[in-house]
C-alpha cells in the first residue's frame, strides 16, 4: 500500500488547467522531490492532495480515499508545511509547535500527556528544543523554518508534504533541513517536498517528480528525470552533472540559446 497514491488528478485554476490526469504513487521511506518551472503546478499538487483546492481524480492517503475523510481525519494522516513561513502573531515556539496537535485535541480542555510528549519529540527532532522559550517572530529564517517543520512533525503523521522548505536559507541551513527530511524518510515516513533547487533534489530525493505543464509529468530516479537534455528542454538551461560520494549532483550552469520548449 502506498503512503500517497494519486490517480488521474486534474486541477483547473482560474480557468486554466494546471494538472491533468496525474498518476503517482509514493511509498513509505521515500523522499519525493517535486520540481518544475514556476507555474508548473508543484504547490497545486500538494494542496490538491490535501483537498485544499477543488480537484478531479482520486487521492488515497495510507490507502484511504481522502475525499471520504473529514478534514480533521485527513489532518491526522498528512501534515503540510506551506510555502509561506510567516506566523501572524508573536506566538511562543512551543505554542506554535503545539498547533500541530490540534487535529488530535478535544475542543476544550488542556493538552493531554501524549500531546505534550509529541511536542517535545517534535522539538527535539527538529533541533528546536533550545528555542522553546522564544517567540517565533524573533527567530531567524532558518530557525523559523525548523520550528514550522517541528509543528508539522508534532502531528506525527506518516505523510509529510512540504512546500519549498529551504527558500531563503543559507547553504548550511538548507542542508540541515534536507538532512532532517531524509532522516525522517529513513525512519519510515513519507516526504513529498517541493524544491526549486535541483542540486538538493538530486542529492536528497529517492525519486523526483518533474512537472512541466498539464499532462506532462515524469517521475523516476533523479539521474533519469534530471538528465541534461531534459533540463534543457524543460527549463531551457544547461547543467553540469556527475556524482560525488555515491550521490548524483547537478549544477545549473547557463541558459540555453533556444530557451525552454
Amino acid at each position: 500500500m502506498s503512503a500517497l497514491s494519486v490517480e488521474g488528478l486534474s486541477v483547473v485554476r482560474g480557468g486554466r488547467p494546471v494538472l491533468s490526469g496525474l498518476d503517482l504513487a509514493v511509498g513509505a521511506g521515500e523522499v519525493l522531490a517535486v520540481v518544475g518551472p514556476n507555474g508548473a503546478g508543484k504547490t497545486t499538487l500538494l494542496q490538491a492532495a490535501l483537498r485544499l483546492l477543488p480537484r478531479e481524480g482520486r487521492v488515497l492517503v495510507a490507502g484511504r480515499d481522502s475525499a471520504r475523510l473529514s478534514r480533521r481525519d485527513l489532518a491526522r494522516l498528512a501534515a503540510y508545511v506551506p510555502q509561506a513561513k510567516s506566523v501572524d502573531w508573536p506566538l511562543g515556539v512551543e505554542e506554535t509547535v503545539a498547533l500541530g496537535r490540534l487535529p488530535f485535541r478535544a475542543l476544550l480542555g488542556p493538552p493531554s500527556t501524549e500531546d505534550r510528549q509529541a511536542v517535545d519529540r517534535a522539538l527535539a527532532r527538529a533541533a528546536c528544543t533550545a528555542l522553546r522559550g522564544r517567540r517565533v517572530t524573533e527567530l531567524s529564517g532558518g530557525e523559523r523554518t525548523r520550528v514550522l517543520l517541528a509543528r508539522a512533525l508534532a502531528s506525527e503523521t506518516a505523510l509529510l508534504l512540504v512546500d519549498e522548505p529551504v527558500s531563503g536559507l543559507d547553504p548550511r541551513h538548507q542542508l540541515g533541513v534536507m538532512e532532517l527530511l531524509a532522516d525522517l524518510a529513513r525512519e519510515g515516513r513519507t516526504v513529498v517536498c517541493v524544491l526549486h533547487d535541483l542540486a538538493l533534489a538530486a542529492r536528497f530525493a529517492t525519486r523526483v517528480l518533474l512537472l512541466n505543464g498539464p499532462g506532462r509529468a515524469i517521475v523516476g530516479a533523479s539521474e533519469e528525470v534530471l538528465a541534461p537534455e531534459r533540463l534543457a528542454a524543460v527549463y531551457g538551461i544547461e547543467a553540469l552533472s556527475g556524482s560525488h560520494e555515491g550521490s548524483p549532483f547537478i549544477l545549473p550552469w547557463k541558459r540555453t540559446a533556444q530557451g525552454a520548449q
Binding site: W89, E94, L102
Partner: protein
C-alpha cells in the same frame, strides 16, 4: 513582559500568571459592579439604596433594582461582548487593528434605532429603540452572511462589512437630514454617543440572549483561530473548515455587537484596545485571548461608565465619549511605548 514570555512558552509559570490575571479581572468586575450599584448618576457614592440613608425603603429598592442594577449589568455585559468580539475578529483577520465595528452591524443597529426614533417607536415603548437596533443589526448580518455563505476570502468579507458601514452610515445621515424637527436630531445624536443611563431590566433581558448566543459561537472558534495563526492553508491542513470558521466569527460578532449597540448606542475603542492590552499580558495565542478580553472589556466599560457618572453634572457625559476620549490617547501612548520595546 515576563508574564507574556512565560505564557508564550506554555510553562507552569505562564499558566499561573494567566490564572492570576483572570482572578484579578474578576475581582475588578465585582468591585466595579458594587461601585456601580452604590454610585448615583452624578457620581455621588452612598449606601442609601441599601436602606442606610434618607430614602424611603420602597424608593431605595426601586432605584437599586430598576436604575442601578440594569445600568451595571449592561455596562459589564456590553463591555465583555465588545472585548470578546474584538479578540475573535482580530484572530480571524489576523490583524490587531480589526475592531468589531468593522463588520457593519453596529452602524446598522444605530440606523435601526434611528428609524425607531423617526417613526415614534421610541416614544411608544422603552424597548422601541433596542428592537429597532436589533432589526437593523439583523438585516446587516443577513446581508453579510449571504456574502460569507459563498466561501469568500476574509478580506472580501471585511470589504463587505465596510460597504455595509458606509451604506448604513449614509442612511442614518439621510434620516437625520430629513428629520422633521431639530429636537429629534439632537436626541438621536446623543443616543448614538453611547450610554447606559435610564436602561431597565427589560433591556437586559432583551439583549442578554443575543449576547450569550454570540459568545457561545465565538467560544467555538478558539481552535480554528489558533490554527489560523499559521495562515489559511496551514489551518485548513490542520482540519479547520475556513468557511465555517468565518461564518461563526461573523455571526458571533454580529450578534454580540449588534445587540450591544442596540441597547447602548455606539461604543468604540473597547473592542480594539482590550485585546491589544490582553495580548501583552497573556500572550498572543488567539484562543487564549478570548476570555481575558471578555473580562477586560467588562472592566474597561464598567469603569468608563463609572467615570462618565463622576463627570456628569446636569448634562450626562456619554460613556461612548469617555471610552473614545480616554481610550484613544491611551492607545496612542501604548503604541508609542511598545515601539521602543519591539525595536529595542
Amino acid at each position: 513582559m515576563t508574564v507574556a514570555a512565560a505564557s508564550a512558552s506554555g510553562s507552569g509559570e505562564g499558566v499561573r500568571g494567566r490564572a492570576r490575571l483572570l482572578g484579578l479581572l474578576i475581582v475588578l468586575i465585582v468591585t466595579i459592579g458594587v461601585l456601580s450599584l452604590v454610585t448615583d448618576a452624578q457620581g455621588h457614592p452612598g449606601l442609601d439604596v441599601f436602606g442606610h440613608g434618607a430614602l424611603a425603603p420602597e424608593l431605595a429598592r426601586t432605584i437599586l433594582l430598576e436604575v442601578r442594577l440594569p445600568r451595571a449589568c449592561l455596562a459589564l455585559l456590553v463591555g465583555a461582548s465588545l472585548g470578546l468580539a474584538g479578540a475573535a475578529l482580530q484572530g480571524l483577520t489576523r490583524n490587531p487593528l480589526a475592531e468589531p465595528g468593522l463588520i457593519g452591524t453596529s452602524t446598522a443597529a444605530a440606523f435601526g434605532a434611528v428609524l425607531a426614533f423617526y417613526f415614534g417607536l421610541a416614544g411608544a415603548s422603552s424597548l422601541g429603540l433596542p428592537l429597532g437596533g436589533i432589526a437593523g443589526a439583523a438585516l446587516a448580518l443577513a446581508l453579510l452572511m449571504r456574502v460569507a455563505g459563498r466561501d469568500r476570502p476574509t478580506a472580501t468579507l471585511m470589504l463587505a462589512g465596510m460597504a455595509l458601514n458606509a451604506l448604513f452610515g449614509a442612511l442614518t445621515a439621510l434620516a437625520l437630514n430629513l428629520a422633521p424637527n431639530p429636537f429629534a436630531v439632537t436626541e438621536v445624536v446623543f443616543w448614538m454617543m453611547g450610554s447606559f443611563a435610564d436602561r431597565s431590566l427589560a433591556h437586559v433581558v432583551l439583549v442578554a440572549p443575543f449576547l450569550l448566543a454570540g459568545a457561545v459561537l465565538l467560544a467555538a472558534t478558539s481552535r480554528g483561530l489558533d490554527a489560523l495563526s499559521l495562515g489559511e492553508e496551514a489551518a485548513a491542513s490542520l482540519g479547520v473548515s475556513l468557511p465555517r470558521l468565518r461564518l461563526l466569527v461573523l455571526a458571533g460578532c454580529g450578534l454580540t455587537v449588534g445587540a450591544a449597540t442596540s441597547v447602548a448606542g455606539v461604543i468604540g475603542f473597547v473592542g480594539l484596545v482590550v485585546p491589544h492590552i490582553m495580548r501583552s499580558l497573556v500572550g498572543a495565542r488567539p484562543s487564549g485571548l478570548l476570555l481575558p478580553s471578555a473580562l477586560g472589556g467588562a472592566v474597561l466599560l464598567g469603569g468608563a461608565d463609572l467615570l462618565a457618572r463622576f463627570f456628569s453634572g446636569t448634562t450626562e457625559l456619554k460613556v461612548g465619549v469617555v471610552t473614545a476620549v480616554v481610550g484613544a490617547p491611551f492607545f496612542l501612548w501604548m503604541l508609542l511605548s511598545e515601539r521602543e520595546s519591539v525595536s529595542g
